[in-house]
Subunit: 147 residues, 4 copies
């Protein structure tokens, strides 16, 4: 599997695009790791992110999983292509109320049009790690979209 | 398909549980329709909900789809059972930047333990309706969880 | 949604391609309905299609769902494009051991590169109809592939 | 993650159940590896398994992935519980026409009612290995079903 970036400034491009996702800012998500085909995003527990039982809402968990998978894909795209999520599936394995949620997005198969990525989400609590969710994502590269 | 509620106060219960989802409040989502096995949730466009191109973030779209599907399921649960999302899959059909996003959650197959629901999300703009996303959800009924 | 076929001989093309799927022949599947964006495939119960409890194997159910969705998509493709399944998700709603299984593939969103389709599978028994499965499919149009 | 079998004769039970899947016999599939929470199933290329371009039909690929995931789950079930697939999602990564298709089912999260498993399918050709598909599966343990 070839995970060489095609855009020399892929690193800056991914970071700038992430910073431009107002939704990630609204959730309080941070990009904490970036390598070709690999992006980690972290979310700290806040009441604003919970569902009715005090766990992270599946939507919050999925949102950072989606961004992690999407930016893992974008890191491999050529300079003039943007990224859109075409579809994804996610299994919520355990209810999560840890202080930190970490989503690890990894490219499974890069492609010119379609890139397949996976994301695993972990709840981190004082050295303990719980597998919170696992998902599969299809990302589309869109020409002429600034990312 | 039997869509009779088993809890006489299902209506109040779903509304109270939705009101207790701080994440929905944080997004600005509103429960706009409620019937046995059917829940609609609406989200008004705000910059805080967008990704890098100014469209609704897939995570925001999925979040209201998930809550709509989950509450459609909960509306049919017995009094002492709560709802958790086990997994879902969503296809993002069109990028969405309409003033209003409407998620329609509908139960496909009710069950004692597992309920299958679908959700369709539409972008609404001055009478025009765009099909933004479609998804399938597995909801679990959890005993002893207050909802 | 525009469901106009782009290939004047779409009907013959879909039927010929289905006839060339040796796997469908091996299962005993028949194409029983064909319209632009809509294909129904039928499977008669045989012991060779069952799992360990005597129900249709999820793989058999999924296979006709996949072909129904794929050919619903192909019916709308231009003449020199073939169809491949990129991904799908399927929920098995009820165990099926009816005499006939019917998969209804319908295009949800046609597209130049990606077409999204759904398929619902029903078990038919003497006028009774059970909803056996529901799925969502992403189909890719591939140029230069004869179909 | 606890992958201890709860049934002392789990090994025999999984092998007998697989042997009772007439559909697997019809496809020519073989169970080639079995450990607690892990099952590999192999399929040799035959014309009867192909779609219209001569590749393995997505339905054949998915069928062995489903059985591999299902039996990986069953290997951990207590003695009087059978296994049913509730839902799955699969991404077809590469068209496959290798001599051998190998599906590796692995439990991701065991559970009393729901078990989540993944399956990866590889095309094997003279030492070369191509990643053909990856999927996520929800398996249900059903009491009183002989498996």
């Amino acid at each position: 599997m070839d995970l060489s970036p095609r855009d020399p400034v892929w690193n800056t491009r991914v970071r700038n695009s992430f910073a431009a996702q107002d939704f990630m800012t609204h959730l309080g998500a941070e990009l904490v790791h970036l390598a070709p085909g690999a992006v980690d995003i972290e979310l700290k527990m806040r009441r604003e992110l919970t569902q009715q039982h005090g766990f992270f809402h599946a939507g919050a968990t999925s949102s950072i999983a989606d961004s992690a998978a999407g930016y893992a894909a974008l890191s491999l795209f050529a300079a003039d292509f943007g990224v859109l999520t075409s579809e994804y599936k996610i299994n919520l394995l355990n209810p999560a109320n840890q202080p930190v949620l970490l989503a690890r997005g990894r490219v499974v198969k890069p492609g010119k049009t379609l890139t397949i990525a996976k994301a695993d989400v972990y709840g981190l609590d004082d050295g303990l790690q719980v597998h919170v969710a696992t998902g599969l994502f299809t990302l589309v590269s869109v020409s002429g979209v600034k990312d």
